[in-house]
Amino acid sequence: MKTLRDAGGGLLISTIGLLFLLGARDMALGDLRNMGPGMVPTALSVVAIVAGLAIAVSEVLRGSGGASGFDLRALVCVAAAIALYAVMLETAGVFVTTIVAVFVLALARPQLRAAETLVVGIALSVFAWVVFVKGLGMPLSFLPDVRS
């Protein structure tokens, strides 16, 4: 288990390489003089896999201790807030999305300051609306678009 934790970073790189290698299976390789679309991705995947494994081995030998300062709660809260923007922004509008996201972000902290968070949310959504929608003309609404 400890070994696996030490090797985590390198294995993550190798996994990314492996995913791309699998994805590149159906691309024509061509040859070195006349490359197909699959040549470069395949070569890079191999580099990533090998480099990742080499890093994993060296970290295990070194006993690096794996990831440092990993904060699952913060990760989940921030990821959830971004996901909320992705899901809600176009339909629910800037205001509602921002308020909800700001509260989700606040959950990452030890204690929730509800009033402060609400004020931040309101101010931020008004600011974002003025700058991005009014100023830069983004096709977003402030309040939920009830009609469509």
């Binding site: 790189i13 490359m35 580099v47 990533a48 990831a67 913060a74 992705a86 003309g137």
Partner: protein, 496 residues
Amino acid sequence: MSDFLSGFATALQPVNLLYCFAGVILGNIVGVLPGIGAIAAISILLPLTFSLEPTTAVIMLAGVYYGAEYGGSIASILLNLPGTASNAITTLDGYPLARRGEAGLALLTAQISSFSGGTLGIVAMVVFSPLIVSFSLSFGPAEYFATLLLGLVAGASAIGAGPLKGIAMVAVGMLFGTVGLDLNSGFARFDLGIPNLLDGLSIVAVAMGLFGIPEVIANISASQAKEKPIAVNARAMYSAFRRLGAIVPSVLRGATVGGLLGPLPGAGPTISSFLAYSLERSTSRNPEEFGTGRVNGVAAPEAANNAAAQTAFIPTMTLGIPGTPTMAIILGALMIHGISPGPQLVVDHPDLFWGLVASFWIGNVFLLMLNIPLIGVWARLVAVPRRFFFPVIVALVCIGVFGVSNSSFDIWMVLLMGVLGYVLRCYGFPPAPLLIGFVLGPMVEEYLRRALMISAGDYSYLFSTPTSIVIHCLTAGLLLWSVVRGFRTKAPQPAG
């Protein structure tokens, strides 16, 4: 030179002055805002400029363009959020400086370097314009490939996390860069059947996700801010100014890199900033200090991207070859006014060309005067409890990224890149080589394959010109140098 002076007569007309100021202020604002860049602002302004004189219109649009390069450094330094892609590298040393309480120094360095880089770029335009044109025309696929390879090698070795991690991150970045349509075959690579992926991953989403979001995750639950902001008062500013002597060589090197690469189609400010930073680091006596908050690491890329932003106008105006998408829009603006950029432009419309060049410098002076007093305001922001920053960053990034192509898809990309960036960060992988691989990778492939197509598969074509051979030698030298240096630094502490 007298043409240049007569250009000032054009640029100093009240209406041109007014629109120049309006342009640079707007550019500065969109530069500060993450995600939204000069392209968005210029395209919104474009229809409004139809009714203006062509010179006035282009002065304003150009002002937005280089103004954004100034503003972009501010969010990079204060929030680790690259306002534009070409400012991404500024985060490496700018943000540590700000965390150390030297936000004022970092911002001052960025502004002074931007101004100096911009000014040197303008001087190059005035003095060397024909030379620069022939230099950029001499760049074919072989020279591009050599330059980009140099950039990649410099990128992989730019960050002091060990060569293996550098290589791994560059490779992953290049893999991300392969997503989307393959130019040569039209084959859609890794598109997973999602139309948004056909154009590849958005660079804004990748940069924001890799740099900004992990910073938020890592700090959001920390109790109180540990940073002690140093007061930005007259004395502090004076001492900061005195320390600026140290950046002069960095600015000159950065401006040279930027001035040379700016006119190359496709290269532009972003690559200039990468290369300038790598150059700065590899020629330094203490390369390991880069990334911990060195002013030279801020000065070189900021000088480079601003010099590049200016010289990028040379091929746009004199050859009608736009180097960047933003330049293409400015080209479009000229054509809407019935002016076709090309070899005849300087001859047929001297007042436009030289008026524009003169306005660049006026705009640069104005940006400097605008931003120096603002440094105090920005630096004081660091004193605001950090918990207020996090929702602001997340909101600006998400809404800003949405605006790039009016699509929520890019917000998902930010999420993916943010999570990946955070996990990699915890394992000690730096994000910069990944971004460098992502930006340069697709171009390396494009030019390599183009060179092979033109030469019918002959690899010696890549070494067929003096320029390409010189650049390949530089790359080899850099590789050798980092190996030698690796041994030297390892010798005293074999544990590594």
